[in-house]
Symmetry: C2
C-alpha cells in the first residue's frame, strides 16, 4: 500500500485503525489544526520547543494540502482525529470536515516512528515493537517554553536499552532533529518528575531488563497537552497512533 | 608557544614536563615506536581496535618525521619517553636517540586532549580539568582483538557527567573518531570489570557528584598495556601526559 493509497482508504472510511508499521520508509506526522488566530502563537510554541514539537510543515490559512507532504486533504487524510474545545476532547471523528473553517491552519510535526526505523536498521532493538505494544509515555515536570495560550509540561516516550545501545541510539537519533532528535534524558526517572516507571501515563508498560536503563525522548503528545492547557474554542489533532502518512521518505529527514 | 617551538624546547632539554594545556587547538598524540618486524602486527592491532588505538599517522621504517604531523624528529619531539623491553619498562629518557634503529616505525595515535577541548567549547564541564588533576583511568575486562603478539584488555578514561551532559558529550565526541570517538560505556562500572570507581589504576580519582554518572572512553594507555603483554625485545612510547604536540589542528580531525 502506498501512502497515497492509504490516505485514500482513510478518506473513504476503509481504514480507521492505527498506522504503525504501515508504508515502511515513509514519514508519518503528528497533526495539529486550529483557526488562524491562534496559529502564530502555536508556530512560536513549536519554534521554542523543537524537541517535543519538531515542525516539518505548516499550511497557509485554509490550505488543506502541502506539496512537500504530498497529502490530498488534511481533513480526511488521517484514519482518526481528536477535536478539542476549551480544554476538553469533544469528539474523535474519522474526518474533521464538519469542523474545518476557511481560515484553519494545520501543522505537521515529526513522529518517533521515523527514528525507530533507523534504530532498528542500526541494530538497536526497540522493546515496545518487540512486545507488540504501544510505546510507554510519561508526563514530566520539564516545563515547555510558553507561547501565547500554549503551555504545559513535556511528555516523553521511553525505550529501555543497555548503555552501549543508548550511545548508538544517541548517534542515530542526532541525525534526525525533525523527528525529536537525540534523547533528552536516561536513567533516573525521578530526575524529570516521573514517579513510577512501571505506570506510563499513555501507552503500554514495557519490560526493563537487568543491565538496561530507561531512555527518554521528547514526545509528540506534548502539543496535545499544550492544546488542553490553551483552552482555545476549537482545534483538532490526529488521534494517537492514527498519523498522517506522507510521501516524504524518512531518509530525506536525515541532516547528515 | 607554537608546537614547533615546544618540540624544539623538548629537543634541547628545555621542556621536560607534561604537555596538558599547551598549544591550544593543536592535536597532541600518543606515540608508539618499534622495530619494523613488529610494525605490521601493531598496525593491525590498531586497525582492529580503533577506539583505544585510533591511528592518525604511521611512518615508513626509519622515517623520523611525518609531513602530516609537522614534526621534526620523533626521537626527541616529546618531553619524555618510556622504553619497553620484554614486557618491562627499562628506561624513561627524555629522548630515544640511543635506542632508535634504522628500521624503526613510529605510530601517532589520537589523544583525549583533542575531544576535551571540544567538550569544553560545547559547555560540557570536564571534572579532572576543573580539579587540576590527571584524568582517572581504569583497567577493564573488555578484551582487545589480538594481532600477532599484541593483546590485552582495554584501558578506559572516566569523566563524571549528568545524563544531559552525557548525551551532548556523545554527540560532540562522535565527530572525532580519530581521538577515541564516542564513549564506550556509562553508568555501572562493574559492567566493564571495574571494581572500585574511587581507585583508578592510573591518574587521579575525581569527585562524582549526586546526579552524575561515570562516563567511560577508550584510552590511549591501552597500547602501552598491549606492548607489555607483547614482550617484544624493544619498543618505546611517549611517557604518559608527555605527548607529541603536532602541527595538526583539532578542528581538522572533525569528520563533520
Amino acid at each position: 500500500m502506498t501512502p497515497k493509497d492509504l490516505r485514500q482508504q482513510c478518506r473513504n472510511g476503509l481504514w480507521t485503525a492505527p498506522t504503525a508499521g504501515l508504508c515502511d520508509g515513509f514519514v508519518q506526522c503528528n497533526i495539529v489544526a486550529m483557526p488562524a488566530a491562534y496559529a502564530a502563537d502555536f508556530a512560536r510554541f513549536c519554534q521554542q520547543n523543537p524537541k517535543p514539537c519538531p515542525l516539518i510543515a505548516q499550511s497557509n490559512p485554509g490550505q488543506v494540502a502541502i506539496p512537500k507532504l504530498g497529502n490530498e486533504d488534511i481533513r480526511s487524510d488521517c484514519p482518526q482525529y481528536k477535536v478539542f474545545s476549551y480544554g476538553k476532547i469533544t469528539a474523535e471523528p474519522h474526518n474533521i470536515i464538519d469542523y474545518w473553517q476557511d481560515d484553519w491552519v494545520f501543522f505537521a510535526l515529526g513522529c518517533s516512528f521515523s527514528f525507530e526505523e533507523s534504530l532498528l536498521a542500526a541494530g538497536v532493538p526497540v522493546r515496545h515493537i518487540e512486545e507488540g505494544a504501544n510505546v510507554p509515555m510519561y508526563n514530566t515536570t520539564i516545563r515547555c517554553e510558553p507561547a501565547g495560550p500554549f503551555q504545559g509540561d513535556m511528555v516523553v516516550s521511553m525505550r529501555p536499552m543497555t548503555p552501549s545501545q543508548t550511545i548508538r541510539a544517541i548517534q542515530v537519533c542526532s541525525r534526525f532533529p525533525s523527528v525529536h532528535g537525540a534523547p533528552i534524558h536516561f536513567g533516573e526517572p525521578s530526575a524529570i518528575g516521573i514517579r513510577d516507571i512501571t505506570r506510563p501515563d499513555y501507552g503500554d508498560a514495557v519490560e526493563i531488563r537487568p543491565g538496561e536503563l530507561p531512555v527518554f525522548w521528547a514526545c509528540g503528545v506534548t502539543p496535545q497537552r499544550a492544546l488542553i492547557e490553551a483552552q482555545i474554542p476549537i482545534a483538532a489533532t490526529h488521534a494517537p497512533g492514527h498519523m498522517l502518512v506522507t510521501d516524504l521518505l524518512n531518509a530525506e529527514l536525515a541532516i547528515l
